[in-house]
Amino acid sequence: MNPVVGLARRRGVGRTGRSQGVLWRAAKTSRGAFGLVLSGAIVVLAAVGPLVSPHSATAFVAQPFAHPDASNLLGGDILGRDVLSRVLNGGWVLLIMAFLATVVGVGVGAMAGIVAAYVRGVGDGAIMRTVDVILAFPQLVFALLLVSVVGAKLWLIVVAVGISHAPQVARVLRAAAMDVAERPFVKAMELNGVRARTIVWREMLPNLTTPVTVEFGLRLTYSIVVMAGLAFLGFGQAPPAPNWGYMISENRIGLVENPWAVVVPALLIALLTVGVNMFGDAVARVSMGAAGRKGELAVASTSIGAMEPPAFLSADGPHSLQPAARNDVPG
């Protein structure tokens, strides 16, 4: 093995577990701890729910929109199924899909962004112009466009939501990777003839764990929001299966008779997204701690990242929301 590979690590700038550090420090802030406990509770509920569900989620055990009673603690839904059982069974698929979509989005986006920053030139241009085009669609509309092509298949919804995240992740990671690519240890390895693939994955990526972690937190919130929104619109599991998002729309007409059928799933989704967002915000704040006075604007900009404009606005535009992206004007 080339002696220069691993240089970064030995110097302590590489794999020093900084992302774990960021997560840990975020969890120790009051906002981060609150968010973690809140979202953790909902995840546990969704995971354990199917095991403790009193009825089958699809059995007709009550009158439609029955009021809560001893055997149906939250009453009946539109078809007379037990609301509590549907709530307990209706979260885990949504959570897994949102998590997978985030993995796909951050994975593809980070890969594209880092490669673009490293290769520069034509490859960079090609990747970032693709990013611009996808960014010209509202995220939900892009997902709907893909769903209209193949139909509401679960894997497709995961891929569609994931791909709709990728451009924004790519832009943030490209800006961060531009910085790393300029560092002496990368130059040293290039001069020593280390393969590009090794440099990118073994040396640059470990130095980018913090921005990747921050992005993952932000994207997870929006994955849940978009995924639940698609389910609400009817693009989720096929009808008899329970899903918090779809429960809200299907039981809406019975809001007066049995509000619990709408209120409980809506509340669970709200607590989940608020919790994840608070933790993500804490991670972003902790990772920017050193930024000092610039902190306020930087954190506000990061959390707005999900609504980021196409690159032709800000990459070489007059003012960039992402402070780090300011110096990434393509040559």
Partner: protein, 326 residues
């Protein structure tokens, strides 16, 4: 090619350059939309007519959709049609795409403009107030609420308003905003209240947080400190000294908000059965009504691109330093 414009006023050069990039992006987007909807497994005619279709019916619809021609010809026919004002016919009900979308476009515009304007003014006012009282209980409370609301899905906000104002708690406003087909939303202002309020609640936190952050930075600068030492009143410092410096990031987040609204209306319109293009898009996706999907997605993408250019030019106009640097 674009360098040729650089000797002109930087403003003109920017507008020209952004417009060219915008048109190119729109072209690529149109190819992508067309390509995506053309790779339907089987073909569109089959998807519409279903299993029971006879070969003759299939063939007739294929001819109507130009599916018997090459893909490039089909794309040409589609784009050419748009330029001639002929958007084709809806596959779901046979009416022209334009008559299906016209009133919806207007209704969605009403929603976006009302929510965007009300939300922006409200959020900037709140942001200035929070920045002026930084680190007091008021600022902490507003910032905390803003962070929480930012994370809420649109339908949760909308359904909460329905629960509060039109069903369970109070019953003072209509919970659905149904209008007769083809009518415009201003014919029933009461039915506009909850959809607009939902969108306002969703967008305020973003603009609020950015305004607050930008104002705090401006208030910490030396020139503000100096002007305070000179005895300039607090209100004057806030509105005439700190706010103008803070405007570029605020304008940009307002632009982002309008971009967001282009997607946000999809959910909110569906919650309230509001007859805009967001509801039209979901109906069309359910019915696999390809001409309608293509047109609505293209309109939304064009809106995105135009808002970006407008925002970009506005930010430049508000930043003298950048404006003079050619």
């Amino acid at each position: 090619m674009l360098r040729a414009f650089s000797h002109r006023h930087p403003f003109t050069a920017l507008i020209i350059r952004r417009s060219v990039v915008g048109v190119v992006t729109l072209f690529v987007v149109s190819v992508l939309i067309f390509g995506a909807t053309e790779v339907l497994p089987g073909n569109a005619a089959y998807a519409v007519l279903g299993h029971s279709a006879s070969p003759a019916e299939l063939h007739a619809l294929e001819r109507q959709l130009h599916l018997d021609r090459s893909v490039v010809d089909q794309y040409g026919a589609w784009v050419g049609g748009i330029f001639r004002g002929d958007l084709g016919r809806s596959l779901a009900n046979g009416t022209s795409v334009w008559s299906f979308t016209e009133a919806r476009l207007v209704n969605s515009m009403i929603l976006v403009v009302l929510a965007g304007v009300i939300g922006s003014l409200l959020a900037v006012a709140l942001g200035i107030a929070a920045a002026a009282r930084k680190d007091t209980w008021l600022d902490d409370a507003m910032s905390g609420i803003a962070l929480a609301v930012t994370a809420l899905p649109e339908f949760v906000v909308a359904i909460t308003l329905v629960i509060l104002f039109s069903t369970v708690a109070f019953h003072v406003l209509p919970g659905v905003s149904v209008f007769a087909p083809g009518t415009y939303a201003w014919s029933g202002p009461r039915r506009l209240v909850l959809p607009v309020a939902s969108l306002v609640l969703i967008i305020v936190p973003y603009i609020f947080r950015m305004t607050r952050a930008a104002m705090i930075e401006a208030l910490e600068s030396e020139y503000v400190e100096l002007s305070e030492l000179h005895g300039v009143s607090r209100v004057r410092v806030l509105l005439f000294y700190a706010l103008p410096t803070s405007l570029p990031p605020i304008v940009q987040v307002v632009a982002l908000t309008f971009l967001y609204l282009a997607g946000g209306i999809v959910i909110v319109e569906n919650v309230f059965a509001y007859p805009g293009i967001g509801q039209g898009l979901v109906n069309a996706v359910n019915a696999r009504d390809i001409p309608v999907i293509q047109f609505i997605v293209l309109v939304l993408a064009a809106f995105y691109i135009v808002v970006n250019i407008v925002a970009d030019v506005t930010v430049l106009a508000l930043t003298p330093r950048r404006r003079s640097r050619a």
